[in-house]
């Protein structure tokens, strides 16, 4: 979230799209309702399904799964053609005025694609700005130059008129017009609107572009950085924000630093290529500090190694190669990955083509699962999984873990608040907390390498792990999470004078502005620097005062970065430092004290002296984003599996998604064969057999892959069975009655899965391209373990990911549904 939960109360219009907030983030509705009651805010909900969110919305509009870019594109076009933009904001804070290479071409010119496409990849040489003599982008503040971003955007979005948009989405033009008018009314400086989104946006082959289109819309309306605005990802797991910050992901290191690439053979080269440069004194270019953060990270990992040595300890990834979840599944299926750890994750249920996942698990030599419960993943070898245990040779370790109340530590919520949890009780029996387990593995492994030697033992032997007093055996046995928190924050490794003040070795680094690039500080994650001081672990704070009345609660826990509750907040004021909205200021400049008041500002510089978006090298938010893999502007494509031809261009699906079926022709597909249907086959060629659009989703009573809820009697009581939702029309066509058992099949799973049918008025067919199009929805919470059990929805989903992130396309794929004969 750019903003935070309480701030939703400041919105004048709230749009929930690609999210079912009422069900999956129920407490957000405290603040949604607060805005509606206190400000008269309106709630718009955009969804293929009529959900519990829709039930309470002021405006509910429909779109078929996968047509979000068209819907938002229509709204952007509405804003551009009706003068519904916040002009001062757009000119000063975004790259609207930047001039783009005249050779750049977009989908309007090239029938659906951008310039530079070849061999399913973009060569981005034309996706760049025209530069002046100082090396800064050329600008036209009048926004009239035909090569400026604003004009290119106008041209791009001119094709997204309401009529075309509704033909694509299957929506109602009148309803769209009403919603476009309502939402874009917040272009006025004193008004703001917020977008709440979740996996409904991201789980598409163009999921990143869905989110990009929200960003473009919000920037045009001047809704980023302001109270009641922002684009707010409602994150689904209690600490998925923290685990992303701390980089349990292949492509980043803690604090969103880059994983070194094979081409970056030295630390110097890595730092040089990772650190952006700006020649514009107005640009804060915050990532210019990169070397301080990377040096401090290496020192947190390997205290006694110099930076070059520490850098050599990090595994390098091959340039251009992807190591994310989908490739992990594929590599396991191939037998290339021999050992797997699952820390509270349940891929046998949660990952796409989960039948293939379970097959792939059987190819492992060993699996270590750490969980509170017996999960489907840990028990993939059991008869309940439909396999013969004697044929599976994987060794499986299932380690009992402590639950949240049975240990202490912090978690970061969607609003970036790192909140401490105290230990309330002991874990059951022999269960242990994860930090204990990790620490034991570290020391036992250190011992083994010390004794036996082996491949490149130095990174393990030198690994710094002093989170408690050493035992007699030279091992730490009871690591203290408070000590880990100190290392994450960072401390001085030697005495250091900064701005005339001496910091002693061992003192906490007060904030990331004090981190050093010479190895004299350590910090496990620069973003969390400032969370622990010499006197206080700020994540433990429970102060409830809110002196400004703006809902910042600066004394409650701690929020990254440096306790800033709304990021990009320099964009909440005009060039003179006056808040756009007087009744809900985020920061404001106090001329007397020459200081910003309110929230922690995005840098303390005086108004107008630095560009608003300090994290970007040119200081301006990107309406035109050349960093994207699939185009600098969001363009509508169809889901990979679709019944509908692309009504906007001849480019059917995203041209740059990684196609497993094409990449792994013939021979490679073999090990991926699952009972007659290959997991890497997609349904588009077989449209008639699989005419129905399907989307997976969650309900409020269960959570994710279900292992945290299916074992709880009270939650099992509420939703005891796997079900799908379908319309009365489809039910009639198929002879299905409410409560019948049905079988759902996809091209990857001809045998299909069985579920109960919930026939409901809340689902309705769409009419697209003159044809009736049915859509069903399916829970993905169920599996074969738990007090309540049911079919695994992901046994049907495709193994295909977004062009930028590789997040799987769970939200639009093709199936068939038939009544199960009894």
């Amino acid at each position: 979230m750019t903003n935070h939960w309480i701030d939703i109360a400041h919105a004048d219009v709230i749009m929930i799209i690609g999210s079912n907030a009422a069900e999956n983030h129920p407490i957000s509705f405290k603040w949604v309702n607060e805005a509606r009651e206190k400000r008269g805010a309106k709630l718009i909900n955009v969804d293929p399904r009529f959900t519990r969110t829709s039930a309470t919305a002021d405006n509910y509009v429909r779109l078929r799964s996968g047509s979000d870019i068209a819907f938002i594109g229509g709204m952007i076009n509405y804003a551009l053609t009706n003068g519904r933009i916040q002009k001062d904001y757009v000119v000063n804070y975004t790259n609207a005025a930047f001039l783009v290479d005249p050779e750049f071409r977009g989908p309007t010119d090239l029938d659906g694609v951008f310039s530079g496409l070849s061999d399913s990849k973009y060569n981005k040489t034309t996706w760049k700005y025209q530069m002046d003599a100082d090396g800064n982008p050329k600008k036209d503040p009048t926004l009239k130059d035909s090569n400026c971003v604003y004009q290119l955007m106008k041209k791009h979005y001119s094709r997204y008129d309401i009529k075309t948009v509704c033909e694509i989405t299957g929506g109602d033009p009148k309803a769209y017009d009403e919603v476009y008018d309502l939402y874009t009314s917040t272009h006025k400086p004193e008004k703001s609107a917020t977008i709440m989104y979740a996996m409904g946006a991201t789980q598409h082959t163009y999921g990143s572009q869905n989110v990009r289109s929200y960003a473009v819309l919000q920037l045009l309306l001047g809704n980023i950085g302001v109270a009641g605005g922002g684009i707010n990802a409602l994150r689904g797991e209690s600490n998925v924000q923290g685990s992303t910050d701390h980089a349990a992901l292949f492509h980043i290191l803690p604090g969103y630093l880059n994983t070194p690439k094979a081409s970056q053979q030295t630390y110097e080269q890595y730092v040089k290529e990772s650190t952006p440069v700006s020649n514009d004194p107005m640009s804060a270019n915050w990532w210019g500090n990169y070397p301080k953060y990377s040096a401090s990270l290496l020192k947190a990992f390997w205290r006694d190694a110099d930076l070059e040595t520490g850098y050599s300890y990090l595994g390098k990834i091959d340039n251009g190669k992807n190591y994310s979840t989908i490739p992990i599944i594929e590599q396991m299926a191939w037998g290339k990955i021999k050992g797997l750890f699952c820390w509270g994750q349940n891929p046998a249920v949660a990952c796409p083509s989960s039948r293939l996942v379970r097959r792939a698990l059987a190819k492992l030599d060993w699996l270590v699962a750490v969980d509170l419960w017996e999960t489907e993943t840990a028990s993939f070898w059991q008869k309940e999984a439909g396999v013969d245990p004697s044929a599976i040779n994987t060794e499986v370790f299932l380690l009992p873990a402590a639950a949240s109340m049975e240990k202490e530590g912090s978690i970061s919520n969607s609003g970036r608040w790192a909140q401490w949890r105290w230990k309330a009780t002991d874990p059951p029996g022999d269960a242990r907390d994860d930090l204990y387990i990790i620490t034991e593995l570290v020391y036992k492994l250190k011992g083994l390498y010390k004794k036996e030697g082996g491949a490149f033992p130095a990174p393990i032997l030198d690994l710094n792990w002093d989170y408690a007093k050493m035992g007699m055996d030279g091992h730490v046995h009871h690591p203290n999470p408070r000590e880990v928190a100190k290392e994450i924050n960072g401390f001085f490794l030697k005495d250091k004078e900064i701005n005339g003040k001496v910091y002693k070795a061992g003192q906490m680094v007060p904030s990331f502005a004090f981190l050093q690039d010479d190895g004299s500080t350590c910090s496990g994650n620069w973003l969390y620097c400032n969370s622990v001081s010499d006197t206080e672990n700020k994540m433990m704070r429970r102060g409830t005062s809110d002196p400004s009345g703006q809902g910042f609660f600066h004394d409650w826990s701690w929020c990254w970065p440096v306790n800033r509750r709304i990021i990009y907040n320099r964009a909440s004021v005009d060039m003179q430092g006056n808040p756009w909205a007087k009744d809900k200021p985020v920061i404001w400049w106090d001329g007397l004290s020459k200081k910003w008041l309110g929230d922690v500002p995005d840098g303390g510089w005086a108004p107008g002296s630095k560009y608003a978006f300090i994290m970007l090298p040119y200081g301006h938010a990107r309406l035109f984003a050349p960093g994207m893999a699939d185009g600098p502007f969001p363009e509508h494509y169809e889901p990979l599996e679709s019944q509908v031809r692309n009504l906007l261009s001849k480019q059917q699906e995203s041209p740059v998604i990684f196609r497993w079926d094409k990449a792994v022709q013939g021979q490679v597909c073999d090990p991926m064969l699952v009972e007659g249907a290959a997991a890497c086959v997609f349904g588009s060629p077989d449209k008639d057999k699989f005419p129905i659009v399907c989307t997976t989703y969650r309900v409020t009573e269960h959570w994710q892959a279900g292992q945290m809820t299916r074992w709880l009697p009270w939650l099992g009581e509420l939703v005891p069975d796997m079900f799908i939702e379908l319309s009365e029309e489809l039910a009639k066509e198929k002879g299905i009655k409410n409560g019948n058992k049905v079988r759902i099949t996809s091209i990857r799973n001809l045998e299909g899965i069985v579920a109960y049918a919930m026939v409901t008025k809340r689902f309705r067919p769409f009419v697209v391209d003159g044809k009736k199009l049915h859509q069903i929805g399916m829970l993905w919470h169920f599996g074969y373990k738990g007090r309540v059990t049911g079919s695994i929805a992901n046994d049907l989903t495709p193994l295909i990911g977004d062009a930028n992130t590789m997040i799987p396309e769970y939200k639009a794929f093709l199936v068939d549904v038939n009544r199960e004969e009894v």
Binding site: P26, F29, N33, T56, T700, E717, K761
Partner: protein, 263 residues
Amino acid sequence: MAEYIKLIDLTKCTGCRACQVACKQWNELPAEKTGFSGSLQNPLDLSYDTWTLIRYDEFEEDGGTKWIMRHDACMHCDWPACVKACPSPGALVKTDTGAVVHDKRFCIGCKACVVACPFDIPRYSKKEEKIAKCTLCYDRITDGKPPACVNACPTGCLQFGPKEQMIEQAHKRADAVGGAVYPSNPKYETHVLYVIPTEIQLAQLQHVNPNPKMPTTILWWKNLFKPFTLLGIGGVAGLAALHYMIKGPHRVSEKEEGGEADG
């Protein structure tokens, strides 16, 4: 002790069922064994182990879909028929907070309250041979805490406070959304009030008595039989005898509606 009211604003319910679980949690009620019900509503009805329930009703209106979720539990009548009907002192009590509280220790399982209640709230367990229902968390409200369901409600749908304040708030909110307050019969006061959105007819909702009244049979029972019976029998032995008269000999029945024991 002041009189309180629980206000249920149906314009704000998102059907998250926090109230339903919080009730079970605070009152230590076991989960029932349920199956697919054809809608989200589960269990399908109130029971000895389910004192509050979200009911889901969907219907079409002006070509659009309406989906109403309703928190259903005891209405805590000002003049409660269940209390009037109950022959066993202390089993059902109207307290000065407005909460109508049952105490299982004194319940003799005669089901008089089940028959009497105009809202069909008390639920009987054959296994326990007693009734149970919502107590408005009497143990919490007398200690300054809102009922568990209200404490859990995220959306502001459930509110709890002093009687006059809640009545005022109910009407203010009903005016603001163009809705109505239920029950609206000034002669039949309850300590639970609903704000019903304007487009909803009570008849469209499950398990609602649009016009609650004290059953006339209760008046007869209360005025004639009840004092006589208890006086005539008297004491614990008398209660046991009454229990025998109504129930017959005690039998240990097989598992019926206990649900899962752990919790």
